[in-house]
């Protein structure tokens, strides 16, 4: 059946081209109205009849119009006026396709989206500005940088090294001195929470000239609390724990003379 329809469609196209009498453009609603009313000259009526054979929309429109007229006649219980019915139908179609009713909510949504985007862009800009300020501030020199040295503890149960960082000191320096023993080729430094959650590490470290390691830390990176700083050494290709330093960071909030300007 489908093949039949396709074949008919092909034949229709060929016949239309050959005949050359098919309306290239759809007839206007006024022409259709006149055709329906029988007011068109015979030649024009023939053209519209032929157009129906090659066009699906126009005959459907005319049939819709007939149904509409029939329903109007039933509702109004009087003979419907053709022109009025056409105008009603066209108005109904125009209203259904009009962007007005559909457009208003869409425009409202666009406005809200624009406002949200603007707010997001403003927030992002402020965040970038604050980041720039923070980077500039961290890049500035800091005098009287607190320095704490971590040496091998006395291996007492519950031993914790308390490190008090004065107010105004964003950063502090930890020097870590490993215990005496056979030196490793390279070292690894790890910082974990007291519960053992990994926070940070640095690999392939070598001892400084004085036999220790220096680590610069900031209070933003390590808030106040207890941590474990582990030093591991590479012994025969395997990482072995050299020493673990439990530390308790205490940050002072009161202003001190060491605060930079």
């Amino acid at each position: 059946m489908i093949q039949d329809r396709l074949m008919f469609a092909r034949i229709l196209r060929q016949l239309a081209l050959k005949a050359g009498k098919v309306l290239v453009r759809h007839p206007t609603p006024e022409a259709l109205t006149a055709y329906e009313a029988g007011d068109l000259p015979a030649a024009e009526a023939q053209q519209i009849s032929e157009h129906f054979v090659h066009c699906r929309e126009c005959p459907e429109l005319l049939l819709d119009y007939r149904r509409f007229v029939a329903s109007s006649g039933e509702e109004g219980s009087r003979e419907p006026d053709i022109t009025t019915a056409w105008l009603k139908l066209r108005r109904r179609v125009t209203t259904a396709r009009s962007p007005g009713k559909l457009g208003r909510p869409a425009l409202w949504i666009v406005h809200v989206c624009c406002l949200l985007l603007l707010a997001a862009l403003t927030g992002l800009s402020l965040w970038v500005l604050s980041l720039q300020h923070e980077v500039r501030r961290l890049g500035e020199p800091q005098v009287n940088l607190p320095v704490e040295n971590l040496a091998a503890p006395a291996h007492q149960a519950g031993w914790v090294r308390r490190i008090a960082v004065p107010a105004g000191a964003e950063r502090f320096l930890l020097t870590i001195t490993p215990p005496e023993g056979p030196p490793a080729a390279v070292y690894r430094l790890e910082i974990c929470t007291s519960e053992g959650r990994f926070l940070w590490s640095a690999d392939r470290l070598a001892k400084g000239p004085d036999g220790s390691f220096a680590v610069g830390l900031s209070r933003r990176f390590l808030p106040g609390g207890e941590y474990r700083i582990r030093l591991l050494g590479d012994v025969e290709g395997r990482a072995a724990l050299v020493e673990e330093f439990p530390v308790l960071l205490l940050y002072s909030t009161s202003k001190m003379a060491t605060s930079p300007q």
């Binding site: 059946m1 039949d4 329809r5 034949i11 050959k18 009849s49 032929e50 054979v53 005959p59 007939r66």
Partner: protein, 76 residues
């Protein structure tokens, strides 16, 4: 003599009177009902049926869609 069914159909359709051809193509090309075709072409339904019958008699049987006088109507 046309050997291609499509060619023979086209040739046969061209020989039909205009109104008969329109009725046939509106019925089996566009799928409109006889009563709708009558409304569209401004002719009585009986004339539409007569045209369709005439087209059925003059068109090739090979590749024919189900015609009103030979079984279920319409093109699905």
């Amino acid at each position: 003599m046309h050997t291609d069914p499509e060619e023979s159909w086209r040739a046969a359709l061209e020989t039909l009177p205009e109104e008969v051809r329109r009725c046939f193509l509106l019925r089996f090309g566009q799928g409109f009902e006889e009563e709708e075709i009558a409304f569209l072409l401004k002719i009585p339904v009986e004339r539409v049926l007569a045209h369709l019958r005439q087209a059925g008699e003059r068109l090739p049987r090979e590749g024919s869609p189900p015609l009103p006088w030979s079984g279920p109507r319409g093109i699905s």
